[in-house]
């Protein structure tokens, strides 16, 4: 049986010469958000990162706050234990469970994700990722109508009309503007920002909105109506101006002006956020946007891209898909993969009190999930892997403190546009990696199952 390669074997030395006990690693990768900036020069001094050149405010917080801490690598019911004891307890919980769930995975390497899906297969569990409460609805929309998209370099080299819809990258993806979408001087937009028109659509006048040339402050929860208005205009259908104003809070004439610009653009881009996926309408909001972008390709080139949040959430989608055929919310209790969002997704299996054990990797449902889901999770045995102390690790039956991917461990991550990028660790950790812990659990559950 094929097991994931140990990232360790594939470690690239990124060290670029040391002096006075400091090491500089060039073109290191920040895995905090979906931008996955791989141009960070980090300076390490006795296992602390003292400088992270080109990192944004989120990236600096990421690099400066993941130093080796002295918490125990494993806690069982809050008491320090050896990793081996933790692995044994974890394996027993998972193999005894009748409806175990494996969840999270968006902040770890794809090498670790591959092992986690293998565990789910062996125990007949349900594997889900944070995608289901992020852009899962966009993934469902993709399954209904498809998606026209591209890598971020295409946006940088060609994009002349950039629309940010229902997201606030200025705060959630701070370098997206400068690195990919607005500022870069690209092959067909040599003057960078001057050659691009930036449009914002949101219900709040956010930092992002203020960086736009045009801003459409729509009525809350009217994204679908706004997108439908644009689809109608793209097709040249006459629609009632009063209803448009009423539905969207924006004059029809402004939507018409936007459509003129969209058709005149050479390469249009819509980057959309969770304002669509988390608001009433959810996947059908995303579907409306993907349909609009497809429609636009009858007139010019147009692409869409969901702004993915976590450093390797895109890798989680890819790994779960290539191993099971489905991107998230995959149930294997019958011995083969099944997919059905709303049935096998974690918010549901917890809120409906179906799950009887959980393996949580690099995620914090105890902070982010609905109240009913959190209450049920608290009542079942679960295992948590995280470099940090979180509400989830604090209530875990078995909590592993793991090394931080990209800072302590090498491996592969996938940027929001599916581009795979390799990680160069800065310094070793006293804690095991997610890959190591999960591999040990996989070996043990395989033994217990046979």
């Amino acid at each position: 049986m094929s097991t994931a390669a140990s990232p360790a074997k594939a470690g690239h030395s990124g060290a670029e010469g040391t002096d006075a006990g400091t090491t500089v690693i060039q073109d290191s990768t920040c895995t905090f958000c979906g931008c996955v900036c791989d141009d960070i020069d980090i300076t390490v001094k006795d296992n602390h990162i003292v400088d992270a050149k080109r990192a944004c405010v989120l990236g600096k917080a990421w690099f400066y706050n993941h130093h080796a801490d002295d918490r125990p690598s494993c806690l069982i019911e809050g008491r320090p234990a050896s990793v081996a004891e933790g692995v044994e307890r974890a394996a027993r919980i998972l193999t005894e469970a009748k409806y175990p769930i494996i969840y999270g995975l968006s902040d770890t390497t794809s090498e670790a994700q591959r092992v986690a899906v293998g565990i789910g297969d062996t125990i007949g569990g349900t594997v889900d990722t944070t995608t289901s409460v992020c852009h899962g609805p966009s993934g469902m929309a993709f399954q209904d109508v498809g998606e026209v998209t591209c890598t971020l370099g295409e946006v940088a080299n060609r994009g002349d009309l950039i629309i940010f819809w229902g997201g606030n990258p200025a705060e959630s993806h701070p370098r997206h503007f400068s690195k990919y979408s607005l500022m870069p001087k690209g092959m067909f937009v040599p003057n960078g920002r001057k050659d691009r028109t930036a449009v914002g659509v949101d219900v709040r006048k956010t930092k992002t909105a203020k960086a736009m040339d045009l801003f459409f402050q729509i009525k809350p929860r009217s994204d679908f109506e706004a997108l439908w208005t644009l689809r109608a205009l793209a097709k040249g259908i006459d629609i009632d101006p009063e209803q448009v104003k009423n539905d969207t809070g924006i004059e029809l004439s402004r939507w018409q002006d936007l459509m003129v610009r969209m058709k005149a653009a050479k390469f249009g881009v819509i980057l959309f956020g969770m304002g669509l996926t988390m608001t009433r309408g959810k996947h059908l909001n995303s579907e409306a946007l993907l349909c609009l972008v497809r429609d636009m390709n009858a007139f010019t080139r147009f692409v869409a891209k969901p702004m993915r949040g976590h450093g390797n959430v895109t890798g989680a989608d890819n790994v779960v898909t290539w191993q099971t055929g489905y991107p998230f919310g995959v149930n294997m209790s019958r011995g083969y993969p099944r997919f059905n969002p709303g049935e096998y997704t974690t918010s549901d299996t917890l809120a409906r009190r179906e799950a009887d054990a959980a393996l949580l990797i690099a995620c914090d449902p105890m902070a982010n999930f609905s109240q009913p889901a959190r209450e049920w999770l608290k009542s079942i045995p679960y295992i948590a892997l995280d470099p940090k102390d979180t509400p989830t690790t604090r209530s875990a039956t078995v909590a592993f403190t793991t090394a931080t991917y990209g800072i302590n461990t090498p491996g592969t991550v996938y940027r929001m546009d599916d581009v795979p990028i390799y990680l160069r660790p800065a310094f070793p950790s006293s804690h095991p990696s997610d890959f190591d812990v999960l591999s040990a659990i996989q070996r043990r559950v395989a033994e217990l199952k046979t």
Partner: protein, 115 residues
């Protein structure tokens, strides 16, 4: 007396930094435990920064939280904002409408000033 609002939880860079700095540190805790209110709404409801309010959803979920005036015109009147975290989660229902995604933005809520 209570008024109707629409509440939007979301990411902020402070909350994002807090995730790395530590979720039990003050920076993160302050960020996720503060409700942003449009200045006009603050004025009308006689609210000052730091005052506490009670927010209740249609399904009866409830939090008590301190308010602060949203900067400039970031929030239109009638809209509330809070950074993702424990409090915003307390207001979420388990229902995902067959999508896997609980409605997590754009809650209909009522807000009343506390004593």
């Amino acid at each position: 007396m209570s008024e109707r609002f629409i509440l939007i939880p979301g990411r902020t860079s402070k909350q994002g930094c807090g995730v790395s700095e530590g979720k039990f540190d003050d920076g993160y805790q302050n960020e996720i435990n503060t409700l942003q209110v449009a200045p006009a709404d603050m004025k009308r409801m006689g609210l000052a920064n730091g005052d506490r309010v009670r927010v209740t959803t249609e399904s009866g979920r409830q939090i008590d939280v301190a308010v602060t005036a949203a900067t400039g015109d970031e929030l239109p009147p009638g809209l509330l904002f809070i950074a993702y975290g424990d409090l915003s989660s307390r207001l979420m229902d388990g229902e995902t409408h067959g999508s896997g995604m609980p409605t997590s933005k754009g809650f209909d809520v009522t807000m009343e000033k506390l004593g």
